[in-house]
């Protein structure tokens, strides 16, 4: 009898979905370990050493207390970047300000540090290995891994240090529009679609607020279009200091009148659940009020051959993380409906409520793969 252990914020709905999947197979519910307890060292993964135990790390999202302890864990990690730093003592005093982009690089340093500690505690297999998770949260590292293995990805402009450097490289590398993404952000956090032709424009979910002589950045569902150099430079400089992945901004194929991309969940080496994400703006993420596209219409339009090739690409990308049972891949399809690229790989990209493949949701399919 398999014993599952899930590490998560217990109030997160992902926990419920896993428990449902386990119940479906008449397995006992997963033991829930809270990130709060694990990070505070009130619990340890070392105690899970019985045979037939498997650990699942799930997303630490949407819990400000946890964000704070992860940030605190990153406070002492040395790094050669220019990112904003905040001491552990000051982190404790932070107040929740919904949507604020807070020290993304320090967050990642803390998250990576914690994953490394937890890896040392492991005495049983995991559904997703802490090392893989750490890499998946680092866009430049993923892009590099994909490139080296001939997985098609948009052209990267390399490490970009600041706004002036960005403009210089865009000119040098003959690229007049780019996506600037926080290296460690997800869900369209800190993403700017930047054009520098005769005039500049930055289309972004980043809301820039000036308060007491400081600039604060927020994630906003309202897409902003900045056109003033001073504003754009300010935003880009703050993001580059935290580490960014800059890629050429490629056109997307259209469906139902919108550009779209596809989230593909690869489970046990097989591309399974998909969601078509329509976007009226360059950002297609669903929580921005974008809609899910019609999957049947998409499949009819892309055709069996092209889709088979695209799935293979996603599976090949997932295979570069051999110790992870599943991942969520963001797939870009170009207007010819044939050329395609991997935009991102998400360690916790399997939250696709209501999406069914072979009669199962993502969690059920993951459990089934383990049982086999």
């Amino acid at each position: 009898m398999l014993n599952f252990v899930i590490i998560a914020n217990p109030e997160n709905r992902r926990v419920g979905f896993l428990q449902q999947a386990l119940a479906h197979f008449n397995l006992s519910p997963a033991t829930v370990i809270s990130y709060a307890d694990l990070i505070a060292e009130k619990d340890t993964l070392e105690r899970f050493n019985a045979p037939n135990t498997i650990i699942r790390f799930d997303s630490p999202e949407k819990n400000f207390d946890i964000d704070k302890v992860i940030l605190a864990a990153g406070a002492e990690v040395s790094d050669d970047g220019q990112h904003q730093r905040i001491s552990a003592a000051d982190v404790a005093k932070l107040e929740f300000d919904k949507g604020q982009i807070l020290y993304p690089r320090q967050w990642y340093l803390g998250w990576q540090y914690l994953l490394q500690q937890w890896e040392k505690q492991l005495h049983c297999p995991t559904m997703n290995h802490p090392q893989d998770i750490a890499v998946m949260f680092d866009k430049p590292r993923c892009h590099d891994r994909f490139s080296r293995h001939n997985i098609p990805v948009p052209r990267s402009l390399g490490k970009i240090y600041n706004y002036d450097h960005l403009r210089e490289q865009m000119q040098k590398q003959e690229c007049d529009r780019v996506f600037v993404k926080l290296s460690h952000g997800s869900a369209a956090s800190g993403v700017v679609a930047y054009r520098a032709m005769r005039f500049e424009s930055a289309i972004t979910t980043v809301e820039r607020v000036r308060e007491n002589g400081q600039t604060l950045l927020y994630n906003s569902r309202k897409i902003c279009n900045y056109t003033k150099t001073a504003e754009i430079a300010d935003i880009i400089n703050i993001l580059t200091a935290e580490g960014v992945q800059v890629e050429e901004w490629l056109p997307k194929a259209h469906l139902q009148g919108c550009g779209f991309d596809v989230r593909v969940v690869v489970i046990n080496g097989e591309a399974q659940h998909i969601v078509v994400r329509l976007g009226k703006s360059p950002m297609t993420n669903l929580h921005l009020g974008n809609e899910r596209g019609d999957t049947q219409e998409f499949l009819a339009k892309v055709g069996i051959e092209n889709w088979a090739l695209m799935k293979q690409t996603c599976e090949a990308a997932a295979a570069l993380f051999p110790n992870s049972l599943y991942c969520g891949i963001d797939l870009l399809i170009l207007p010819d409906w044939k050329q395609h690229m991997i935009l991102e790989i998400n360690a916790f990209g399997d939250l696709l409520p209501g999406v069914i493949w072979n009669g199962m949701d993502t969690y059920t399919s993951e459990v089934k793969a383990i049982l086999e």
Partner: protein, 183 residues
């Protein structure tokens, strides 16, 4: 924790209770009576409305209620129209999801006397604010906190002219802001 009653039953003379953290599963409070509780503060995040659960409690001595991150308009309206918690003088609903809708719900109703109303970090727009500024509850308020909502500069100025203490700055646009997922 999914139930508050064990604490209330174990401590019948308790006057101040503050809860911080998450509620397991679906919180469901027993509708019990507690004669002494004067202050209740709940800082949590839950898919089930905690305010809805709090409204089930019979707390005749309650003077100060603060519930974060909720969105249950019915509960807020019941409290503001005086149907619950007869001795309440401080109501805080910071980071409330549907602030405009609370105003719509109480627009035509008589409202209770409240000394302090705290709606900061909410989603109040000029639409809801127009109702609020014309609402009789304003006449009795000592302090009103509507900072970090979605009010225009013009509307903010109108509030600052009121007789009560008004905290209206800064405004933000939290309605459109989202707490990023970690995928």
């Amino acid at each position: 924790m999914s139930e508050i009653s064990p604490i209330l039953e174990a401590f019948p003379n308790l006057q101040v209770l503050k809860l911080h953290g998450h509620f397991d599963g679906n919180p469901c409070f027993k509708p019990l009576l507690h004669n002494c509780l004067k202050t209740l503060i709940v800082e949590s995040q839950s898919y089930i409305s905690i305010l809805g659960q709090v409204c089930k409690l019979n707390l005749p001595a309650l003077e100060y209620l603060e519930v974060w991150n909720d969105g249950y308009v019915g509960g807020a309206a019941s409290i503001l129209t005086g149907q619950l918690f007869p001795n309440l003088y401080y109501l805080g609903l910071p980071s409330f999801e549907n602030t405009d809708k609370i105003m719509e719900a109480i627009a035509q109703s008589p409202t209770r006397r409240l000394a302090v109303l705290d709606l900061h970090l909410g989603e109040l727009t000029d639409k809801g604010a127009e109702i609020l500024i014309n609402c009789p509850i304003i006449n009795y308020l000592h302090t009103l906190n509507i900072a970090k909502n979605c009010l225009s500069e013009k509307m903010t100025q109108r509030f600052l002219k009121l007789n009560c203490q008004v905290i209206a700055q800064p405004q933000g646009n939290p309605r459109d802001r989202y707490y990023a997922l970690y995928e």
